[in-house]
């Protein structure tokens, strides 16, 4: 991939990266493009985060399910910063998936998927951050509940 091509990348944020403060801290120059959905996947919680003291969000293939998120336009430095925070490629693996933005356009975006698959119950702090972000964005909070039920 050339430098020109990597000058800007689209990143599909879900989980705690829906939190504005966290996203701003990790990617100073990130620019919000639109809301988006990742089809054929469901939100789940897996692995273990020391910061959040428990499992954290991931996406897993699931027919007829969607994950709501935000699309950010990232510069190369932002993407490198995110790679560090997400532990790519050991903890999360960055991959490109097709998402649909709020305008109805399908786009390929960078998505971090956890390598760990064993489901777990997120900590109350982590669940609170996600619930708050879902409320602020008007996302369907039932998907959070469904994820929690799946893993509890």
């Amino acid at each position: 991939m050339t430098k020109t091509c990597m000058a800007r990348a689209l990143y599909f944020a879900y989980g705690s990266n829906l939190d504005r403060e966290q996203m701003r801290a990790r990617c100073e120059t990130a620019e919000l493009h639109a809301r988006a959905i990742l089809r054929g996947h469901a939100l789940a919680f897996a692995g273990h985060s020391r910061r959040w003291a428990g499992p954290v969000a991931t996406v897993v293939p699931s027919r007829n399910a969607i994950v709501e998120g935000l699309l950010y336009i990232l510069r190369a430095a932002d993407l490198r910063s995110l790679d560090r925070h997400e532990g790519h490629p050991l903890v999360y693996r960055r991959t490109r998936l097709r998402v649909t933005d709020e305008h109805g356009r399908e786009l390929r975006a960078e998505v971090y998927v956890q390598r760990a698959r064993r489901p777990g119950v997120p900590s109350p702090d982590y669940a609170r951050v996600l619930r708050r972000a879902y409320q602020r964005l008007g996302f369907d909070a039932r998907s959070l509940a469904a994820s929690a039920e799946v893993v509890s």
Binding site: M1, T2, T4, R8, A34, I73, H103, G104, R105, E106
Partner: protein, 160 residues
Amino acid sequence: MTARKPPTRAPRAARRPTGSSRSPARAAASTVAGVQPRAPEPRTKVFVYGTLLSGEPNHHRHLASARLLGEARTPPEFTLYHLGFYPGLVRVGHHAVVGEVYEVDEPTLAALDYLESHPRFYVRTAIRLASGDEVEAYLLTVEQVAGRSVIASGNWRERG
């Protein structure tokens, strides 16, 4: 050493008589025995105005090997909208929109159609440029850009 089996099928090139072709046009174009002139592959002129412009993020992947015919602009009958990561061109308004025209082969055109989600999102449509050339361009409808900001310069690179 093992004995070589006789070939059960003739080599691919020998199966078809010289000069024949699935396409009548190609057969008619054959003038010299044993020489199969290649019919010109269909090429399409495409006007791009956003992320496919040279230096923009989708250019390298899709148009790096396409032939640039030059910079171009639409007649002042269009509007360029800012949709965040990419723009949308609408055939309503009074702006001349700036872009580039590329000549692309069929696989490239198919890849562009896929990229632009034609016809589910953008619709590839024949438009006439200010120069009078007729080209293909990916357009949105007025409904799709409702409430979005206009790029008054008509130039995605000068979107601010």
